[in-house]
Symmetry: D2
Subunit: 349 residues, 4 copies
C-alpha cells in the first residue's frame, strides 16, 4: 500500500525547508500581525520578483486568500465573473458570497478556462441596477480542472476586463504547478499579463498553512483592513511569511510544483502503457493533463476497488468522474504503488 | 400612440379600488408597524383563504418579499435552488446574496420551470461543508418567463424538497396572473401544494406598493425580526395591508390578473392573424404564452421601429429576444393600438 | 377621548395634498424604477433648493434611507460614529450592521447631539486595523431626543469629520420639524453646513411612505446600485417621488413640521400652567422641548392612567421616561383632549 | 536589552513541545479538513476533559474562533451582549458584525467583567423588533483587562442568560492563564459553569497558530458549515489539532499560563519594591493584576523612555494607560531586564 494518496495535495507533508524556516523564525520575541522582519522580507522578495512595489499579505487559507482578494478588488455592488467550475462556486462553502456579498457569475467552460469569446457572448447588463454588475474577473492558474492558462490567454482576458473597467484576480492556490507547467516566472503570468491582485499558494505545495495575497494594482485600497476583518491576519504572521519565503527561495516552490506535475504525467503514462499492452482498459481522461491533477472517468466498481488502497475524490459522482492529485512528496515508488494497485483493482472487478 | 405600454405591469396605474382602500384607511391615528386593524384583517383574510393560521407580513417591494422569505426559510449555511432564469439571479441586484449571504444555485430550465428530473440530475453534495448546502427551493408562479406551474408540478417539487429537509418558497409577484391562468384559488397552489412560505404580489396587479409575505410553515421562526432588519416593515403598514386586502376582496385581484392575461392572449392572437394574412412576418414566440407576459424574437430593426411608439424591454439583447407585458389596465383599444403600431413598424423596416 | 395619539408621528394620517399628489400621478403608464418625470422633477426641485446638481433617490422607509446613505458613504472597512441615542443603534433592528457590515461607534451624549469636544476626547485608533475605522459621522436633525442642531453645530462637526477624511450623513427623518424649529431652509443645514449625504423624511410628516436620499457629495458613487440591492428602489417610484414633491411645494412640509412643533409646545405650556395652578404635579422634562417630541419622566401609575386614553411610548421603562410626539394632524382640540385626559389621570392616581 | 518584550503574548515563540508535535504530525499523507486522527484525538481529549461528547473544531485565529462561536450560537436577528472592553468591539476589525451581522451590545464594566446586576439594569426590549435582540452573552476569561472570572461568577451569568433563552459564549484566547489563576480545570469554568460554546486559545500560549472552538451545547447546529464559510477550516487541520493537543497533554498549557502569570506578578512585585525604596515613583495600576496582563498609568515621557528598550502597547493613549503582557517564554532574567530598563527610564525623565 502506498505511503501517499491521490486525494489532494493538502494531504501532503510539510517540506523540510519550510519546516526549517518555521524553526528558524522561532527566536525570541517578534512583533505580531505582520509588523515583522519576515513579512517585510516577503514583501521585498515578491516586489523584486515582480519588479514593482507590491503589497503582500500573508494569510492562512486558500479560501481566505480568494475572499480577501475579490473583496479588495470589488465595490459593494460588484459581482465576480468566474468559470462554472470555479473553486469559489462549489468549494468554499459560499464564503465570498456570504462574507462579502459578491454574487458569482459563472461562465460555462469545458476545460475550466475562460475565454474572451465566451465572455463576449454574454449580455452583462452593464449599468442596469437590477443585475449584479460584473466588476471582477477571477481565474485560477492552474484551474480547478488542472488546466493551465498561458500568459497570452491571461493577457487577453485582462485586456477585455480592463477595457470594461473590471479588475482581474488570479487564484494562485496552485501557482507553482502552473509556473512549472509553463516554465516561466511569477511575473510573466501575473503583472505582465495584466493581473491586478493574486495569491501565491504554499499550503498545497509543501507548506503547513500559508498563502500570500499580492496586490499589484495600487488602486486597490484598504486590503489591510479587509485582511483583518476577514480573519486572515495571523497574529504570528512571521511564521506564515517565512513558509512562503522558503518556497520562493531558489525557486524551491517551482521545483516542487514541477515534481508534482511530473508524477501526474508519469502516472498517466504508466497507466496508458498498461492499457496499450491490454492489461487494463483504456483510461478515459476528461481533461487534458497539464499539471498535477488528473481527471478521468472510472467505472464505479473500478473506482471503489482502487479506493480500497488509495484515497481520491469523486469529482462528479453522477458522471463517474474522479480526480487524482499528485503532490510535491509523491515519489516514483508511490507512482509504482498506484499503478500496481490500479492494475490489481482492474482485475478484481 | 397608445396610452399604455408593454414594458412592465409596474408601469401600470393604481386600480381605483386600491386607491379607495388607501383613502378609507386614512382616518385619524392608527398604530404603526403592523399593530393595526388593517394588518390584522389581512392576516385574518389570508388565514381564512388558506384554512390555517398563517402569519402575514405586509412589505414594500417584490425583492423585499423574496429576500425576507428565503432568509426566514434558510439557515446561515443554506443556499437557494432556483431556475437559471430566476428573478433573484439577475433582477434583484444580488439582494438575497448580499443581504443574507445565501448563494443561488441555478438550475437550467428552458421554460423557467424546475422539474424533479432536473433536480435529481444534480449532485448536491449534501453534508459536504465545502459546497453551499441546498436548503431552500425557490420557484415563482407565474415564472419569470410567464409560464405557469400547476398544482401537481409544485406538489412534486415540494415532495422532493421536503424529503430532503428543504423548505419551499414561492415568489408570488404575479400570483394573481397564475391563479387566473390556472382558474384556482390561492390555497391550491400554495399550502395545498406543499409551499412553506410565499408572497402575494399586489404592486404589479394594481397596487401602489404592496406585497405580503405569508408564512405557512410554523417551523419558520423570527420572520418579524427579519422583516424589520431587512427594512421591509412599513411604519404606516396599514396602508400596505389595505391595498392587498382590496385585491383579495371579491377576487378582484384574480379578475385583474385574468384581464391582463387575456390582453396578452389577444395581442398574440391578433398578431398571428396578421401574419396568417401575410401582413406581417410570423411571430417567433420563444415561450408558450400562458399569462400576461409574451416572449418573442424580433429582428433588431423591427424591435427598434416598434419601440418608437411602445416601450418594452429587451430580454436577451444578444439573442434579439424581447418581452411584452400586459397589465390590469391594458384595454382592448390599447391592444388595437399595439397591433396597428406593430404593423406599421413592420412595414417601415 | 382624543381622535389622535401621542405615540408617534407615523400614527398620523396622509395629508390631503400628498394624497392628491398620488392621485394626480396615477395617469396611464409611467416608466418604473425612477425613470419617470415625477422622480426627475423631484431631482430638479431638490437640486434647485440646494443650488447644486444633487442626486435624489426616492426610497420607502426611514431605516432604508439611513442604510442606503451610510452604505454609500462608507468603505467596507468603515464604521459609523453616532450618538449613543442613535436611531441606528436601537431602532433599526441592527439593519446597518446586518446589511452593510458597518459597526456603530456610539458616542455618549446627554441631549442626543454630538459635539466636537466629545469626539475629540476619543482615541479613534486611526489606521489600526484591529479597530473598526471611523469613516462616517451620522447625525439626525431633529435628533432622536427631539433636540435640534443649528447650522453652526453641524458645520463644526462636518469640519472635524472632513479634516479626518470622514463623510457626514444627516438622518432627516424629521428634517421638516428641524427646519421649522430653526426657521431656515434645507440648504442651510445640509450642504451649507458640510453634509455629504442626507435624507428628507416625508412619512412622519404627512406622507404614506416616502423618504428621499440626497447625495450632495459627488465623490459618493454607486448609490443607484446600493439603493437597488438594499431593496429601496420602488418599482412605482413615481408615487414616492410625488409624495415628497408635494411636501416641498410651497414649503408645505415646513408648515406641517411647524404645526407639529407648535402643538408640542402648546401641550407643554398647557400642562405647565396646570402645574403652576397646582392642579397637577410639575412636569419633569428630561429633554429641552425643541421640536415635536416631548420627553418626560412620569410616575408609572400616572403613565398607566394616561395611557388608558392616549397611546404613547415608554422611552426608558426602567427610568420611567416616556415620549410624547405630536404630528402634523394634531389639532388644538386634540391638545385640549390630551390635557384634560392627563389632568383626569393625575387625579385618579 | 531584553530578549523578550511586553507587547503581547503573540510576540512569543513556539514552545518546543508544540513544535515537536507539528514535526511528529508530518508523516506521509493525512486526510485534510479535519478528517484525520489528530483532530479525532483532540476531540476525544477535550470530550474526556469535559466528561461529555463535545464537538471540537480546530481553527486558525482567535478572532476566527470568536466569530465562528457567536455565529453558531446566534440566530440571524440576534445580538451579542459583551463587556464594553470586549475584544470583539475594538480588536477584531468589526469581524463579528461584518461577517455575521451580529450587533454588539456593550455593557459598561470597570474591570472588564460583566455582572448580573449590570445586566439587569438594562431594558433589553425583548421581543421589540426595532431593537437588536440580546440572544448571546459573550465573556472572555481571562478578560481583555487581565481579570479573571470565577466559576461562580460565570455560573451566575449563565443562569441569567439561560433563564432568558440566551446562549453563553466564552472567549478562551487566554483560557490557560485563567485556569492557572483559578487553579482549576477546563471543565470547571466551562460546562460546569453553564457555558454553551467556548474556545481554547493556544496561539498566545506557545502555539504557532491554533485555537479550538468547543461546542458543548448540542442544540448548537451547523458549526461545521459555519467554520468552513468563515474560512476557519484549515486544509491541513492535523497540524492545528496537534498543537492544541500538545498543550493539553500533561497540563502543559496550564503550566505555561501559570509561568506567564507569575512573571507578571514578579514584575509588579519588583517594581513595587523599587517604589517602596523610593527608587521609582509608585506604580499606578489601573486594573488588579490577576493574570499575565498588567494595566497601568504611565506618564507619557516615562512610557516613551521605557519604550526605547521594550515594546508594549498603549491601551488608552488619551488616558496614558499602557498594557504590559508577559508570556510563557518570559524568563526571570527577562523580568530583571525589564525592571532595570524601567528604572533607568525613570531616571532619564
Amino acid at each position: 500500500m502506498p505511503e501517499t494518496h491521490l486525494a489532494s495535495d493538502n494531504y501532503a507533508t510539510i517540506h523540510p525547508a519550510v519546516l526549517q524556516a518555521i524553526i528558524d523564525a522561532n527566536r525570541s520575541h517578534v512583533p505580531s500581525y505582520g509588523d515583522d522582519a519576515y513579512t517585510s522580507a516577503l514583501n521585498a522578495t515578491v516586489s523584486e520578483m515582480l519588479e514593482m512595489k507590491a503589497q503582500v499579505f500573508p494569510v492562512l487559507t486558500g479560501t481566505g486568500a480568494n475572499v480577501v482578494s475579490v473583496t479588495a478588488a470589488s465595490p459593494r455592488w460588484g459581482a465576480i465573473v468566474t468559470s462554472g467550475h470555479g473553486h469559489m462556486i462549489g468549494d468554499e462553502g459560499g464564503a465570498s458570497v456570504r462574507l462579502s456579498g459578491l454574487p458569482l457569475l459563472p461562465v460555462a467552460s469545458a476545460d475550466g478556462k475562460l475565454t474572451v469569446d465566451a465572455l463576449e457572448a454574454i449580455d452583462w447588463h452593464d449599468g442596469f441596477v437590477h443585475t449584479p454588475q460584473a466588476t471582477t474577473l477571477s481565474i485560477a492558474n492552474t484551474t480547478e480542472l488542472g488546466t493551465v492558462y498561458t500568459q497570452e490567454e491571461i493577457r487577453a482576458l485582462a485586456e477585455w476586463a480592463h477595457s470594461r473597467g473590471m479588475m482581474v484576480h488570479l487564484d494562485g492556490a496552485r501557482i507553482f504547478n502552473a509556473l512549472a507547467a509553463l516554465d516561466c516566472d511569477l511575473k510573466a503570468v501575473t503583472v505582465d499579463a495584466g493581473v491586478d491582485i493574486f495569491s501565491i499558494g504554499a499550503t498545497k505545495n509543501g507548506a503547513l498553512a500559508a498563502e500570500a495575497v499580492v496586490v499589484a494594482n495600487p488602486h486597490i485600497l484598504g486590503t489591510e483592513y479587509i485582511q483583518k476583518y476577514l480573519m486572515q491576519l495571523p497574529s504570528k504572521a512571521r511564521f506564515v511569511s517565512a513558509q512562503i519565503s522558503a518556497l520562493l527561495a531558489d525557486d524551491l516552490g517551482i521545483g516542487l510544483g514541477r515534481h508534482a506535475n511530473e508524477m501526474a504525467a508519469l502516472l498517466v503514462d504508466r497507466l496508458t502503457e498498461l492499457s496499450n499492452s491490454s492489461r487494463i482498459d483504456p483510461l478515459e481522461l476528461t481533461q487534458k493533463r497539464e499539471s498535477n491533477q488528473v481527471f478521468l472517468r472510472l467505472p464505479a466498481h473500478l473506482a471503489d476497488a482502487f479506493r480500497a488502497t488509495t484515497r481520491f475524490y469523486d469529482w462528479d459522482a453522477l458522471a463517474n468522474e474522479v480526480r487524482w492529485v499528485t503532490s510535491w512528496d509523491t515519489s516514483m515508488s508511490d507512482v509504482d504503488g498506484f499503478v500496481d494497485a490500479f492494475e490489481k483493482a482492474s482485475h478484481q472487478v
